[in-house]
């Protein structure tokens, strides 16, 4: 059955908010998505009926909280086709997941080793590797992907026997293009590099199967896929997670502590120091369930059609430059050379339309594109064709008002 946002909009009460009598049009979904009632309810239910600290208590509520928390891990493992639930580590989000790996692998990195990333990375998948390179004397290299995200045979030469880590985004947050994951991971495997994929912009849209991808690590945030903020996931293969040294230590992650030494717990707990974000994990699992209930290929098609609507409406306008692909994307990133993106953003905001203007935490990519900032309209499952059309209409009004 074809997906339509009409059938699910009522799951997101916030969409009824108005400003200056305009209904809000929320097109900043790549920054964070709105949350369906099912997610909100799961968090409230946890606090109403199950709140206690997990794992160590031996009483009714603690058992209940622990099983809700560990069931959430199972749900996420299934969501990713991750096999065992011990492959799922809870983190604060994508950024912490990447930092956890960057610190955890540090003991394996030596001077003159290479860490390879791509030119389409968010700062979160750049700075931790750059800093790891600084700490170890390794060299950060950048695979020069173009804004079309296509694989070129000469890229293979970037993967060498010195490449110890390869990290790439799945989907660019700034321009929405998908990277050539299969080709890149294939080359990375040939040279025996650890591989990490930043799935922050992918999980809300694509059905991710980590077994098929066959990467060592896959990371994402809950709040960009209809879940709560402050919770994220580090998926890792058993061997890859085992090799990580814990980057935080303390409670929950230990088996036995003496003043002389500490015996760490097994995975996944070894990498989860401190009381976890229990309601975050439960809320994220509810978001996974929410997505799994949808016809996901149709949902993706719906979102891609919205981006396509915007692209088709605007690409012929000589005043507008579009940086996103013409199809197979769920966002449109653009600029108007004569008009500041912040001004466009303000006019759209005055009509209730929320988008994002800026460099999208991707300064090097903006430099590559030769633009200071772009205006990004990013779509989620609850957006409508009318909203996409309204965005175009108001954007064109803004350009008329603002162009000198």
């Amino acid at each position: 059955m074809a997906f339509s946002s009409n059938n699910i909009r009522s799951d997101f009460p916030i969409l009824k908010v108005t400003t200056d009598d305009h209904p809000i049009v929320y097109l900043d979904n790549a920054a964070t998505t709105q949350k369906p009632l099912a997610v909100l309810q799961s968090i409230q239910d946890y606090y109403l009926y199950s709140n206690a600290n997990v794992h160590r208590g031996a009483h009714f509520l603690s058992d209940r909280a622990t099983s809700a928390f560990e069931n959430a891990r199972d749900t996420v493992a299934n969501f990713l086709n991750a096999g065992q639930n011990s492959h799922v580590i809870w983190t604060k989000g994508t950024t912490e997941s990447i930092n956890l790996v960057a610190y955890g692998l540090e003991h394996l990195i030596e001077t003159d080793d290479e860490i390879l990333i791509t030119s389409l990375e968010h700062h979160a998948n750049l700075v931790p590797w750059q800093q790891l390179a600084f700490r170890t004397g390794a060299r950060l290299r950048v695979l020069p992907l173009t804004s079309t995200g296509e694989w070129e045979p000469e890229y293979a030469s970037y993967f060498t026997d010195k490449t110890k880590i390869f990290a790439s985004t799945h989907i660019s947050n700034a321009i929405g293009v998908a990277t050539p994951l299969a080709d890149m991971l294939n080359e990375a495997k040939k040279v025996g590099a650890y591989t990490l994929i930043d799935g922050a912009q992918a999980v809300a849209h694509y059905e991710v199967d980590v077994e098929t991808l066959d990467c060592d690590f896959y990371v994402f945030s809950g709040h960009k896929m209809y879940g709560p903020t402050g919770i994220g996931v580090l998926y890792g293969k058993s061997a890859a997670l085992e090799i990580l040294l814990p980057y935080q230590t303390g409670g929950e992650m230990v088996r036995h502590v003496a003043y002389q030494a500490t015996e760490f717990n097994v995975l996944p707990y070894r990498l989860e120091a401190g009381t976890p974000h229990i309601e975050g994990a439960i809320g994220l699992a509810a978001a996974c369930d929410y997505l799994t209930k949808q016809d996901r290929p149709e949902l993706l098609k719906w979102e891609q059609n919205l981006a396509k609507t915007v692209y088709d409406e605007l690409y012929l306008d000589p005043r507008i430059e579009i940086y996103s692909p013409s199809s197979n994307t769920t966002l449109v990133s653009l600029s108007v050379p004569d008009v500041h993106t912040l001004d466009l953003n303000s006019y759209l905001d005055s009509k209730g339309i929320g988008v994002r203007a800026g460099s999208h935490c991707a300064h090097p990519l903006m430099e590559q594109l030769g633009v200071g900032s772009t205006l990004r309209a990013s779509f989620a499952c609850y957006n409508t064709k009318e909203e996409a059309e309204r965005f175009c209409e108001v954007l064109l009004e803004a350009i008329d008002l603002l162009a000198d």
Binding site: T19, D20, V339, S346, S350, L401
Partner: protein
């Protein structure tokens, strides 16, 4: 020297705006009052730090009074600059330092244009005016 509208006129125009859209249009109209800086004047030295859009501010002294020139690459910010400069143009440094510029600026009814992430940038401008 730029002849800007006086701050009373600007205030009443902005106070008459009852929606974000009206404020937006008024700021666009105000922005046209600002005399643009030359490329040489838009130097690193004159740049105000902490603004989302680029803002340059130049201070000159004539007969002991302050005269400011400013520019931004964003049009709405140029409108805000016209409002801000109307408060301080032609005054002595001591007078400017005695003013509560943040309080004065709230009279302009800039609402969301100042409560958003733009605030820090505007505060940076006010700080530079009285330094």
């Amino acid at each position: 020297m730029t002849h800007l509208l006086d701050s009373q006129t600007i205030q009443s125009r902005l106070q008459a705006c009852t929606s974000k859209e009206a404020t937006f249009k008024e700021l666009v109209a105000l922005s046209n009052q600002l005399e643009r800086l030359t490329d040489e004047d838009k130097s690193e030295e004159h740049k105000v730090k902490g603004c989302e859009s680029a803002v340059w501010l130049i201070e000159e002294h004539i007969d002991g009074m302050c005269h400011f020139k400013a520019d931004s690459d964003a049009k709405l910010m140029r409108g805000v600059l016209v409002a801000v400069l109307s408060l301080v143009q032609g005054k002595s440094k001591a007078d400017i330092q005695a003013m509560d510029l943040v309080q004065e600026l709230t009279q302009f009814n800039l609402g969301s244009y100042l409560t958003s992430s733009r605030t820090n940038g505007v505060l940076g401008i006010l700080k530079k005016l009285s330094s």
